[in-house]
Symmetry: C2
Subunit: 282 residues, 2 copies
Amino acid sequence: MIRELAIVGVGLLGGSVAKAARAGRLARRLVGIGRDAGRLRPALEDGTLDAITTDLAEGVRAADFVLLAAPVLAIEGLLEPVFGAAPAGTVVTDVGSTKRNIVRAAERLGAGRPLAFVGSHPLAGSEQSGYRVARVDLFRGATVVVTPTEATELAALKRTTEFWEALGARVTSLDPETHDRTVAAISHLPHLVACALVDGACRVEPAALELAARGFRDTTRIAAGDPDMWTEIFLANRDALSASVEAFREALADLQRVIVAGAPDEVRAALARIKATREGLR
Amino acid sequence: MIRELAIVGVGLLGGSVAKAARAGRLARRLVGIGRDAGRLRPALEDGTLDAITTDLAEGVRAADFVLLAAPVLAIEGLLEPVFGAAPAGTVVTDVGSTKRNIVRAAERLGAGRPLAFVGSHPLAGSEQSGYRVARVDLFRGATVVVTPTEATELAALKRTTEFWEALGARVTSLDPETHDRTVAAISHLPHLVACALVDGACRVEPAALELAARGFRDTTRIAAGDPDMWTEIFLANRDALSASVEAFREALADLQRVIVAGAPDEVRAALARIKATREGLR
């Protein structure tokens, strides 16, 4: 299906794509690109990649499919050199967890021409990072959101969708704005809130964390995520995140109000409604 | 160790105590007490209990150890009839997840006399409830907080501590006020916040929940808890909970401020500090 797949950034996501692509024989040749040859070498040595390079232009020169698996702010900066060096007709996609900034940058660069770039966001990951935690089955059963716009070439959208499906993912399509608003609510906000929970508990009762039971550990697991990565995500999506924080603060204030008022029927009704919503999650 | 153990309320917690006490031969005789004989029968039929009754006074009349495993508001109401019917010297403890109200009520009832009541709070549980989810190993490795005061008989504290330890738990002692402040921060607040996250996500983007990835599901798992039980807990501990909500709102506002300001170094420093705290949890 793919002749040469170039993966820029061979960490958890890029490495897992490489492993799954190798196992599923999705590409005849797999090239890994990164800034640090030492970090790329394990994926070459274990047979996952056919070649590695720290030279971006060289790495994408023969590729017919390019995956940008760098941190979210770095992806924007990769678009221009990749578009410049890759052959005409090469499909480019990414794994960035915010999409407006990346898709907008791609459209600016491709202005006027039909664009072989398709934004992707695999809803898979971990609080850990790096190639050593990459897994051949990371995308199996995961959801990948693709974010085409009117400028997107239909053929590129089709190839990108088939690419993720071949890795075992379910593919959903959203426009970049709806995507960013949605992930702010279901991913960035929960992360921010988990951080505030850990911090707030320390402020109330510094010894409290020693007693933390399973509920607290589950709720705050994501607060152990990589600070560099989450700083980029929070800043890249800060307006949508702020809107989510606002909705969350209102929801919290509504619950707090009926609790402080000592109104059992209203508290119970709110909790029952929310429980029903939560149980609707697959 | 115990001649006759009476358990008032044979649900998840009371049922798990009964199963573990039976398996560990902690008590020669096990009596289950509840309002609904139909709900008690499964634990009699499977051999966990030796007797069941819906008559509280009759159930505790021959007990030398009584466990009150009812919902938190009901426990307060059980103290007087249990103290009235149980033999002198019987040790009474409970599983309520707030402690000031219960311990204060017990001290009022015992005014002047040394008290054979010891507040307990096992930090174990589940979003599910009822005897059918009770487990023989629920307390193995769990933390149980006991909340003695100056009025507590030392012998009763010792027996209660040994009781929980015999079920496999680690026992920690806190005064009732510190306990309530602590559980507000590490248990009640996370629950409230998980509810507000589900509710807030719906307000921002009603379709968002369909895309919820693992992070969101983990963070909000506890929002599927029993509305009746959580209504009682929130109301019983509402002042300590309000203080925790306040600390949390400040922690969230601090994070939100540096994100909105677009200050990457400050965001990263805050996230790194919180990650270190979170990773300190066992």
